[in-house]
Symmetry: C2
Subunit: 423 residues, 2 copies
């Protein structure tokens, strides 16, 4: 299911429910580029230590935009003996939501854009109708601004309410006023003060002040004569509106927050960059230190599993020669593996693996989930008695938790999110 | 007329003819952003010297992509007593044309992208079907590579032809070979040499060698037994193909080269950034020094006219209060101005100024041309005898040549491309 800004608010409860009821989640991201400097070979040098790899990806890969996020939720149905899936394809764009919102910049790499264009990627959906987002710092800042504004405009003291402009919390845009403009500015400031004072004197019973912004960014002050009840009512309405604006601005980050707080197992394929981008874009600046990054990842995604790492580890390593997602998926349809039965939930379009829509993030997430189930079930066949369905709680899977595949590094088996790395 | 990569080769002669026959050209560019750091207010501070303004725009505005270029050609028809116009809307994208091509990065600014998205800008046309380009340095490099390659594969000496790989001119991709890979590489190099030597010995009458690349970047060597005539024929075919590949890669830069070599008057509105981006993207890195930039601009566009500067100068300044393109165009439809009669050339879609398609580059170029004609004709009304049509050779226009509008700077009237600036 494609989710853009147009249907985001309507579909968010559907997404949250899918996450809440799932046994596990599969994710995948599409980015506007991979490396802003070094070649891909240099970025993923086979002699890198985990620290070096992390530092290079942080330095050269984070200026790109994660602009499509795939989420596929998997819930096992005991009666049907199959997984019921819900697949979502989110289009993401840092749309400026008002004139105070951060005007984000991001880099595009021609080869990556060209690659996605050849896959039929819909850039118009991203740029015209992408879902906005804020990281935690930006969300906190916006929340603080709103609260401070409310305190000033809606405080107990009438004096405070009357004399302080609703926008006092915002720093002036132009702190240095050129000499020839000083008289003009002084006059405006004086007139504004005069309006507030006159209001106070003429309408001692109370007024309501609000600043509205027109679509072309012109701002007007609307002053309404109100009694105490009306004033309270207007304030409540305003608070609801502000809360809604805030939620809208937080946008896609709410999906990541829902995934995070669910503590569900999150499965990805070669997911180091997916995790780094997700944290960088929707949570906070990445830390310089790899160990701090590991702690942060444990907070955001308490349990992850990388199917590329799984497929590169015994007993799979011996029987799987190519671990690129599309080839892995093909290989896992052949013996000794048994591809799992899955079914799209009602109202969700179903993917046909025979046709394939590779590199659409929702489809890649779906395929990743399939690969995970197939490999997990294969491990179940060695149990006594053998199990045809292995749950995500099974001990056979836990050795693969919280270990990330490190591309091209042959002598270090993985990045260990739960402790120090192998040397 | 929309020009993308799909119809570029077919339409290029049409574009070149339109340029060649025109009295003047109007241009406009759309960019993926304006400032990668400072706010727009800081970037265009009213106290900037011309040097400071140029340095700031160069430092903070050139990482963005000029991804739509509008060109409108105006040719006066004496019989019809009106201008015949041809309008082109080019979509531009640095598509990597082969595996050796530069993998360009560019920055997008959310507010600019959002602004264009709201205007209905078609990002898919840019990224899926944009016209590639090379700057002069890249073109020269590619040409040199091709010539060197041809010299080696097609040289007089058979020995040279036989022993040197067709790709010897390209630097090896991985200069440092890890110790554990050295044996493998040595073996491959030996085998390759063996193939060339055996060929020479088995087929002394001659062979033709070529390396072909499959769509998924796999490379194969194709060796064909040929006699001398066939070999020459194949070489000619190859040369034609290479020339075509080179022309394709140069892509949109050929349009700018055609504009440049025509020496026609180029009209733009607030065109400093248009000129800077055009030179930066299709010619060369911008020089650090403003005077060098002026010389360079004189080479690329020997004669330019900025309608924003014209409208901000007497006698227009006194009667035109807003010089933003859309408002200027409206103002110039009212007395004392007479909007000119124009007609789209046969086969070219006509623009309707009543509906407007502002911020499509082709339309903005068209409107810019209209504004120029209206203002020029107004100046003609002061001549004795008064002229209703003023040609681009007229003395009444020449005072406006080669002066660029400097946004928000009030005490310096313009950037003078023909000499030192006012202090």
């Amino acid at each position: 299911m494609d989710i853009t800004w147009s249907n985001f608010k309507k579909q968010l409860p559907v997404v949250c429910q899918a996450i809440a009821e799932a046994d596990f989640l599969a994710i995948d991201g599409e980015f506007s580029g991979i490396s802003d400097g070094p070649s891909f070979t240099t970025l993923t040098n086979s002699l890198d230590t985990p620290e070096e790899r992390y530092e290079k990806l942080k330095a050269h890969s984070m200026e790109f935009l994660l602009f499509q996020f795939g989420l596929c939720t998997f819930k096992y149905d005991d009666v049907k003996a199959k997984y019921i899936i819900k697949s979502f394809n989110f289009y993401i764009f840092p749309r400026p939501f008002n004139r105070n919102s951060p005007d984000k910049k991001f880099v595009c790499q021609s080869s990556s854009i060209d690659f996605l264009a050849n896959q039929g990627f819909d850039f118009n959906k991203v740029f015209r109708d992408g879902i906005p987002y804020l990281n935690q710092e930006e969300e906190r800042l916006l929340r603080d601004q709103q609260e401070e504004k409310r305190y000033h405009t809606n405080g107990a003291s009438t004096t405070c309410y009357m004399y302080i402009s609703p926008d006092a919390s915002r720093a002036p845009v132009v702190p240095v006023i050129p000499d020839d403009q000083k008289d003009f500015i002084d006059k405006i400031v004086y007139q504004r003060k005069l309006i507030y004072q006159t209001m106070n004197w003429k309408f001692p019973r109370g007024t309501h002040v609000e600043t509205v912004e027109s679509p072309n960014n012109e701002r007007r002050m609307i002053i309404t004569k109100v009694d105490e009840d009306e004033r309270k009512n207007k304030e409540i309405q305003k608070k609801v509106k502000e809360q809604e604006d805030l939620n809208n601005a937080v946008g896609f980050s709410r999906v990541i927050q829902a995934i995070s707080s669910s503590s569900k197992l999150v499965v990805g394929h070669n997911m180091m960059l997916d995790i780094m981008h997700t944290i960088h874009q929707f949570y906070c600046q990445l830390p310089n230190d790899l160990e701090e990054f590991k702690s942060l990842t444990n907070c955001v995604f308490p349990r992850v599993l990388d199917t590329k790492l799984m497929a590169s580890t015994q007993p799979f390593k011996a029987i799987i020669s190519h671990t690129v997602l599309a080839e892995l998926e093909k290989r896992l349809q052949m013996p000794p593996f048994n591809p799992p039965k899955v079914e799209s939930a009602e109202g969700f379009p179903s993917y046909d693996t025979a046709v394939g829509q590779l590199h659409e993030a929702g489809y890649d997430a779906y395929i990743t989930g399939l690969c995970f189930i197939t490999m997990a079930d294969y491990l179940g066949s060695f149990l006594s008695p053998p199990q045809t369905h292995v749950s995500v709680q099974s001990d056979v899977i836990s050795p693969f938790f919280n270990k990330l595949f490190l591309m091209r590094i042959t002598d270090i088996p993985y990045l260990n999110l739960d402790g120090p790395d192998c040397k």
